[in-house]
Amino acid sequence: MKVFSIAFNTFRENLRDKLLYNLLIFALLMIGSSLILMRLTLGEFHRLILDIGLGSINFFGVLIAIFVGIGLVSKEIEKKTIYTIMSKPVARYQFLLGKYLGLSLTLLINTAIMAVGLLVVLYFQDVPVHAVLFKALGMIVLEFMVITAVALLFSTFSSATLSAIFTLAIYVIGHLTTDLRAFGQKMEGVGRAVLEGMYYILPNLDRFNLKGNVTHQLDVPAGDLLMIAAYGMAYAAFLLMLASVIFQQRDFR
């Protein structure tokens, strides 16, 4: 129950944050702008709308996950609001988990709103909607949850600015891990071992990207979907455990 109280309070904090609304409005404008871009393009209208729409949802969601995520813990320590929370009978891992779930809820609702925006555009442009679109949206939310866990982990031991840089770096590299491995295989010795190691340690975020399937109307089998979901959740859970261990040791000065 305490975890949910903290989660709900975090959700409420997010709702009263102006950053969220700015990003949401931008995302909806981006989705809407595909209508204008469409008039400048020859053919492939449907793909363009879907591509820009999903791309916007993904991009702005990641921005929220990173820039709200890095503040989840560091802001509480900086503003000293954590003193009153931790002096109540609340375990530290409960606090972390609550914060994490709160932002995840925000991201889920945010994605839902953006998805409705996209569906409205698709409806008026007579673009057929396939089930794979919803699967892709689900995977986007899962990616947000992994990135939020990365941001949360960094914010348990470094400042907000450093956490933002680290998380952004992980996000970018996370989408290039396949290239990392391919690059590594062309190398010898230590270089190869390092790059291979990075491939296995860093999150393979490209696994969550089903945009290609949506634009080409290629369905994803349930088994694959399950594997990706299991991978994402296991990865996020591992990061949260690591964050809890670090957070447990911390002095709040």
Binding site: N9, T81, I82, Y83, S87, K88, P89, D251, F252
Partner: protein, 325 residues
Amino acid sequence: MSRIPSLALEHDVQIDQLRKVFKVGFWGRRVTAVDGVSFEVQRGEVFGFLGPNGAGKTTTIKMLMGLIYPSGGTATLFGRQIGDPVAKAKVGFLPESPYFYDYLTGREFLRFYGHLFGFFGTALDKRIDELLELVGMTPARDLQLRKFSKGMLQRVGIAQALINDPELVILDEPMSGLDPIGRKEVRDLILRLKETGKTVMFSSHILHDAELLCDRVAMIMKGKLVACGHVSELIAGDTTHEVEMVIDRLLPEALERIRPLTNKVVLQGERVMVVLSSQQSVDQAIDVVRSAKAKLVALTPHKASLEDLFIRKATGAQQSVEARV
């Protein structure tokens, strides 16, 4: 300071040889913030934890609340190790210059903290209304905390510390930054808590408040405990009994006769103020004033106070005490 361990259950707080060493800066230079502090807070008393800024008061309190881990020594709340959720459930805590979620309204804020203790529903709402009434914040209950003044934040902060009807209330600098009216209100509140049988421990560098409120005090300087006990006993042990004498129209040659008797002379135009530290010198000074036909305006004995003790200890510890004390 070593002491015989007494029955833990009689004490709400027991601290034994508590130490905290911080590593600061890039090279991890070691700084001892709290150095072997031992004292206990008895059930039902108002306990003052005094010391200048940076003496280690907040660090000690943070260790008690499980926000910082001790480097050595032990501390218990209600006989349980610090950090124990069962003990935490019986404690209310107000941090120093508290910062709260400013996007919440007064009522939402208290409700959230109530949830953390597992309180829900109408019983919690009733408790919140009572607390808002107690700290005089009922009119501001639906106002966001960002619009609160410092005094209002302090009051709502005290309300959150009382949400679980705690047996022990720990307040870190509850009077700092408040105007005289606000300070008096906090004092009254502490006394009211004592009347209802609660134990109150508060830290302060405002000694006047401590003298008015506390049954017992502990004084900490540079991380070390320098005094601990009943206020009256601590003051009685203090040997400075000075008398301040104010004289008008004192001729210079008469002043020269008084000068050897005193260690402090202040000239304010026609008026002379001298400080005398023994009964004998007071008698001799009065004789001089009479014979010189000067006018004795005031003769004020200095009551020994916590402040004298504090300043003496501070000079002993070679620590600068800020002028505002």
